[in-house]
Symmetry: C2
Subunit: 264 residues, 2 copies
């Protein structure tokens, strides 16, 4: 199955983000991708501590940002992962929510980020919990012949989530992200590859790149990792692009036959 | 604290293994290391499927292979990790057991490998459970001002063990190993770095190198990883050597202050 990661740079103009994101998704679909993935906060990106403007950008699911992709999924009969949008929650908070659209153009899964980013990097304090509520449900979804387990960005630091997915029969792990450059350089590739190796599953990680004008520079390097832990495709450190790759159930089967005691 | 990993190639001559191992440990101690680590099966290495000869090599703890190191720890007032010996168990089985000797020359901890290697690599089937019984106790031990959590080789594929150690206040994770070259090239560095990053702890991983004459080539690359996930020292792919490095509690504290939500 041909897959495509949209490496993207979003900011605070939702209409512009949406226009550019639908354009890149359409291009990936036109080039034959059957599963196209957008990164975290693709429709609005402002830094986790800007509670008020995040609240203004929040939408229900489905809302306009999700609905904009229904016709594309339908037209191309392909699945889409909207890495995350800011989903309206109660009391001035939001959820950081991934939405999967199936090849019929309907929502087939929704995942609210469970682990909220909490970091002190140099003089910057980033506490996602100031603006967001955590999700509490792990979510798997059928993507063609694969089953995928959903996660977002900072979740990748918590290996137990991915082991639960593997025990539920998942062959693909999605990690749409907006990793900081600083932590990305130190941790991004290692953690993505470790999740693949520990679960002998594909990891698909579309990433934000560049800056949103208010926040911190993102790491780029959108990445596809094989079930044996090889990086089979990787985006650049800078600039938007579409990263294509292949996923193949036989590779999952082969890795799991080599190390039969891993998933339990 | 200066530490030393003994990158070692053992085979089926226990007396020779022990003579060479005590010699290298003495050299590391004489060069000022306060904590010296030997790899998995340093006193007898024969491939996990050779049940009978493993049984013949098995010892109680403490037995001759452990006692041989008491005088060195005493003389230099330093801690030693005997990465593993073949410990006698019932019914023709053995345990794969790490032993820690404290700076007074006494045993301060013992850990029996919990996850037994199980792999089909090309035409080789390796099933440690054919010769060994699994341990069932996680083990932490004081090493100078640090607390260490013990594990062995294939354990490194199971992240939950290390998270339990982090929750128990551990700052150092030990992973003495005899990794195959094939899986080592694909997974060794990534998994060691991931365990450090996930737990913001040092990882100390002394490794076997070369072949034992009956088994499979070992990966070498004995490795020290910082709590931020950097490889600060690494052995070669081939040949015995002593890999020196420093560990520093302030580095653990700094990493944990940067990402305060990780250990919970």
């Amino acid at each position: 199955m041909k897959v495509a990661l949209i490496q993207f740079c979003s900011a605070q103009d939702k209409a512009d983000n949406l226009k550019r994101a639908t354009g890149m998704v359409q291009e990936a679909l036109a080039q034959g991708a059957r599963f196209v993935l957008l990164p975290e906060v693709f429709n609005f990106r402002a830094g986790a501590d800007n509670k008020q403007i995040l609240q203004e950008a929040a939408e229900p699911v489905p809302g306009p940002s999700v609905r904009a992709f229904f016709p594309l999924a339908q037209k191309y009969k392909a699945c889409l992962l909207l890495g995350s949008i800011i989903e309206k929650a109660g009391a001035g908070y939001a959820y950081n929510t991934s939405v999967v659209i199936d090849s019929g153009g309907s929502i087939s899964a929704k995942y609210r980020k469970i682990h909220l980013f909490d970091a002190r990097l140099g003089d910057k304090i980033i506490r996602e919990a100031g603006s967001f509520l955590p999700g509490n449900k792990i979510t798997t979804v059928k993507i063609g012949e694969f089953r995928a387990g959903l996660s977002i960005c900072y979740d990748v630091r918590f290996p137990g989530l991915y082991q639960r997915y593997a025990r539920r029969g998942v062959e693909v792990l999605t990690v749409p992200s907006c990793f900081t450059k600083k932590t990305g350089q130190a941790h991004w590739e290692t953690l993505l590859r470790a999740r693949a190796i520990e679960n002998l599953a594909y990891v698909l990680a579309p990433a934000q790149v560049g800056t949103d004008g208010r926040g911190i520079e993102a790491h780029g390097h959108s990445m596809i990792v094989s079930p044996w832990g090889e990086v089979t495709a990787c985006g650049s450190p800078k600039g938007q692009e579409i990263v294509f790759g292949q996923i193949d159930l036989r590779e999952v089967k082969k890795a799991r036959q080599s190390l039969p005691g891993i998933i339990k």
